[in-house]
Subunit: 237 residues, 2 copies
């Protein structure tokens, strides 16, 4: 049996050492790091190798560079929280309630920025826990046009989530998200089998193409505590 040659690259060593100094507090917020040339001398390596290590720290957001001045330790940002919005929670089953073309109401028309006579696809689904209790109610309004393959795939993916994603322009849209607490309306309470006014988490998403065109709007109501959103902020070692 031959020993695998898994030696750590030098730039990774530089990266790790500097990162440890940042976490230790040997390097504090705003501190100036050693210059590239200093690091070259310290590690007896070429400048590009040093830069590779620094670049790794920079793209993780731990440091930033001021050209012609030096590299500095970044100020951590704890106000940006990354939330994992799980489409299919564990131990839950999602089934379709309805899918059809509708004339949307004024609010949806306004959000999607479409004229009065525009027809959209309305797609609703309910997610049940293992015990059979409904825990989430989803309503999506999708601007269906053949010219927008991403929407087609959205529908196909929504209806048959087990299908692999079809070929599509990657990153062709993003979503704007808003998270609120609302009391269950009569209609929603009926679906979720809860009392009217029960606190629900409402996640609204607007699907927007890179050219600015709005192509979809989704509402996700979830009963508590099932539908709690989990996330993290800051840098996790």
């Amino acid at each position: 049996m031959k020993k695998k040659n898994n030696r750590e690259p030098i730039y990774a060593l530089i990266y790790t050492n500097l990162r440890n100094q940042i976490f230790d507090g040997q390097l504090s917020v705003g501190d100036l790091l050693p210059s590239e040339n200093q690091l070259c001398s310290n590690y007896k390596v070429s400048r590009e190798t040093v830069r590779r290590g620094l670049k790794a720290l920079e793209s993780e957001g731990l440091i930033y560079s001021r050209p012609k001045v030096g590299y500095f330790v970044s100020l951590p940002n704890y106000s940006d929280v990354t939330v994992s919005f799980t489409v299919n929670p564990a131990n839950c089953r999602t089934h379709y309630k309805d899918i059809h073309a509708v004339m949307p109401d004024a609010e949806v028309r306004n959000i999607l920025n479409i004229p009065e006579d525009r027809i959209v696809i309305e797609l609703s689904q309910v997610t049940d826990s293992v015990e059979g209790t409904p825990v989430a109610y989803d309503i999506k309004y999708i601007l269906y046009e053949q010219a927008y393959p991403s929407v087609e795939s959205e529908i196909r993916f929504a209806v048959f989530p087990e299908l692999t994603l079809p070929k599509m322009a990657a990153f062709s849209y993003y979503t704007d998200v808003q998270i609120r607490a609302v009391g269950a309306s009569e209609a929603v309470a009926k679906v979720l089998e809860c009392r009217i006014g029960e606190p629900l988490l409402l996640v609204e998403r607007i699907y927007i193409q890179q050219n600015g065109k709005r192509i979809g709007y989704a509402l996700h109501y979830s009963r508590q505590p099932y539908g709690a959103l989990k996330g993290t902020s800051g840098y996790r070692l």
Copy 2:
């Protein structure tokens, strides 16, 4: 007046061209990009320059590399939502309600993983809208020990948010976040001047040091629609 020499670097050109092809759909999800050597020929540049452009795409998550095989277009992740958790919303004023040492209840003890006799700092504050309506209620439990400078700065920053952040070990902790909808309890309803049971957004954060030690726990109740959380998912051009 001399013209500024702001020519675009070659690697940035390569980056931009490939990125456009990804957004256009000329390159779809899972597609193989041209090899480094091919790009070298196409652009008549050295390999390191090509790699710089590819590295930029990679660190943005648009592509990934399979060593010895090639670079591929990534599958966009729309389930990770980045939420901006604004501490001091615009047009709002935050003022202190209380700050003192307490013996926390069982729930807080459990979350912070501390013994029964452990004392913590409890810090509460209320945020008012311009009209004077209370819109948010914050309660923080902080494990105060001189050995943990990040906690000291947390307190100082919380009490005097206008102060610049003191020198501290950067990235020494992260937070676990949970977002839920709850009905206002009697105590919370009193502070927020709303009826009991009114739907509130509750953001809970646990502050955790890189070594795993839990050093703080915060609850943030907000009335709707003021305290709605906004975020985005996907890649925004």
